[in-house]
Symmetry: C2
Subunit: 379 residues, 2 copies
């Protein structure tokens, strides 16, 4: 029942002559099995092997006995096609670039997992790059990714220095791209963002419904695109409920690229608020990191959270659930956002393969209020 040499015809003879005799490979590598080895062992040509193994259209005509023989030969030899050869010919890399602006940001983790998981389903692999918020690094990495012929790119855009121009190369190269966390307003670059206004509205609604009227705010830095819509959400609710916003209870985070700094700034700005001596019963922080800093400052000044002051964040980064007290916050569904961005890119890749052009998609996801322990009914 051996599956070799059952066809000792002209074919195997010609197959033998196709190469310089048996020059054993010099490398200490385990002598990779090539398609020709499979061809030889199965008694068919490499073309037939390729067609069968890829189940190409032509495979229709090939009888099952042939297919079986080839498949058995392949698996017996442990054949694995050389992806370099395949990619060289077919111009596909089965690879997607992932660009993060600061890996250290807790925001990244779950988004990355969503991306990874989605790519995995489609047998794509991610190349991870972290540009450390440096422009030169961004450019270098972009080049490296293009050199590797990534088929798509997902950008985790929690950063400041972007102008639209930076991604021009991508358009030139026709690489489907999606950003997470920031909309570039570019007609060729898809985006997945959270509805910041709705989130902030929900946060305010929560505080308001708990009876809070004197609310302090730490707003985001002006440079961030998230800042304006979140504040808009706050104002919308305030207006609806005839709530007055006391400008002496409003402070702004300074610009910064570093997630840890928003913690420190949250701390400092909260102390600043306390110094102003205007009473407040709740504090709404720009994001969770800021909220952590704020809670720390409140605690330091003998103010218990939530007993004496409620605090609400935004994002629901992983530590929020671990905090003591656990942080009430607005959840950005980060894993979903990663999944969505990756899906958009994958679909664009596929449709590009079928010559349709994929539409640019801008998805705005409604965030969810997560009530934990850092907010409480005003007594």
């Amino acid at each position: 029942m051996e599956d070799s040499d059952s066809k000792p015809t002209r074919k195997s003879a010609s197959a033998k002559s196709r190469r310089v005799p048996q020059v054993p490979r010099k490398r200490s590598q385990p002598a990779a099995v090539t398609i020709r080895d499979v061809a030889e062992r199965s008694g068919f040509s490499s073309a037939t092997v390729s067609i069968v193994l890829n189940n190409a259209p032509l495979a229709r005509y090939i009888p099952d006995t042939t297919k079986g023989r080839i498949q058995r030969a392949a698996s017996h030899l442990g054949y694995r096609p050389n992806l370099f050869a395949r990619s060289l010919r077919g111009r596909r890399s089965q690879t997607v670039g992932v660009m993060v602006f600061d890996m250290t940001d807790p925001y990244c983790t779950l988004v990355l997992r969503g991306i990874e998981n989605t790519l995995y389903q489609s047998s794509f692999l991610p190349i991870l790059t972290d540009v450390h918020n440096e422009r030169s690094r961004f450019e270098r990495y972009l080049e490296m990714l293009l050199d590797r012929r990534i088929e798509g790119l997902v950008v985790l855009a929690n950063w400041l220095f972007v102008d639209i121009n930076v991604l021009a190369d991508l358009e030139k190269n026709n690489i489907p791209t999606a950003t997470v966390g920031r909309d570039l307003n570019n007609e060729n670059i898809s985006s997945v963002i959270v509805d910041n206004a709705a989130g902030a509205y929900a946060a305010m609604d929560h505080l308001h419904s708990l009876g809070h009227r004197k609310i302090a705010f730490i707003r985001g830095p002006r440079g961030l695109t998230d800042t304006e819509p979140r504040w808009r959400g706050v104002r919308t609710l305030a207006h609806e409920r005839d709530l007055e916003l006391d400008s002496r209870l409003i402070v702004d985070l300074p610009e910064s690229g570093d997630p840890f700094s928003s913690f420190e700034q949250g701390y400092k700005l909260t102390e600043e608020l306390l110094r102003r001596n205007r009473a407040f019963t709740a504090l709404m922080a720009f994001d969770d990191m800021t909220a952590f800093g704020a809670i720390r400052a409140l605690n330091k000044n003998g103010i218990r959270v939530p007993d004496q002051c409620s605090v609400i964040g935004f994002d629901d980064v992983a530590p929020a659930a671990l905090y003591s007290p656990a942080l009430t916050t607005i959840r950005q569904p980060m894993e979903l956002m990663g999944t969505t961005a990756a899906t958009i890119v994958l679909e664009a890749i596929n449709s590009g393969f079928e010559k349709k052009s994929a539409p640019t998609i801008h998805r705005k996801i409604i965030p969810e209020l997560i009530v934990r322990e850092s907010t409480r009914q005003l007594k």
Copy 2:
């Protein structure tokens, strides 16, 4: 001063005939510039171009004028070599696989950054895989990575199911591998771990020097290799200081693959300790996640940290510094560990390229006590 057609000799004529006339590419892709385009424009053959651009040994003989012409032509056309072609020939991918067992673990972030940063210096790119603690996924990813001819592998080994056998394929394929966070005791797989005994010793020393004598312990799960040495460190110090360890103040984390569960278990086990009604003034948790859970439980039961009970963790994950109170802990220098592992792998790759065989390296790093706010002198 144009650098084309200054050599209209036989060469350029032969170069013209080497290909079917100008068949414009059908693809909408931006018609990649190949080495032959550079050859044509500069008036030399592709062989010469390759030699010059790679500064190959033979480039010694090539006059500077030629080099200049070729380089100018290349940069003028914006030539970027096709890495697939190059890799196919040269069998190098400039890629390292990174395998994480659970991306969600806060332990990962900084290690990843260390790896990324180190690879970046050497123009390597990481392919990131997350096996979600599933064996099947591990195997699938390993195959995919091997298919892509990764030149090395870094494994972030914060998991349970490993037996030494799982990495056998790597040995077969001669791929330099290093693990972070766990020593496989395999003579071909390098490792970078922290000195758990020293760390636990330092933690105990800290508590002891603050005057604590009644200390509760949440030990690690038996299945983890970290568990035993940490406990050994505790016992060593206890023995040195004639400190008695009360077995009623010792509990063990159950097995689990999920980092979040150690938080929950930390919570539950602390409540369990409290129910036992044996007084303790300090608690040493297996790791930071456990410590967070413990602090939460203490707070819930009206016990203030550190006023009424000191708590110390292990790892120094990012949230530890943000916590309120900020967590005193033993820092694993995670970024350094990532850097170290990546460096080991890169060096093995290079020495493999020069036919030397690289030694397997087992590095044990001394962790550092980070005193923050969760521990305090016993009054």
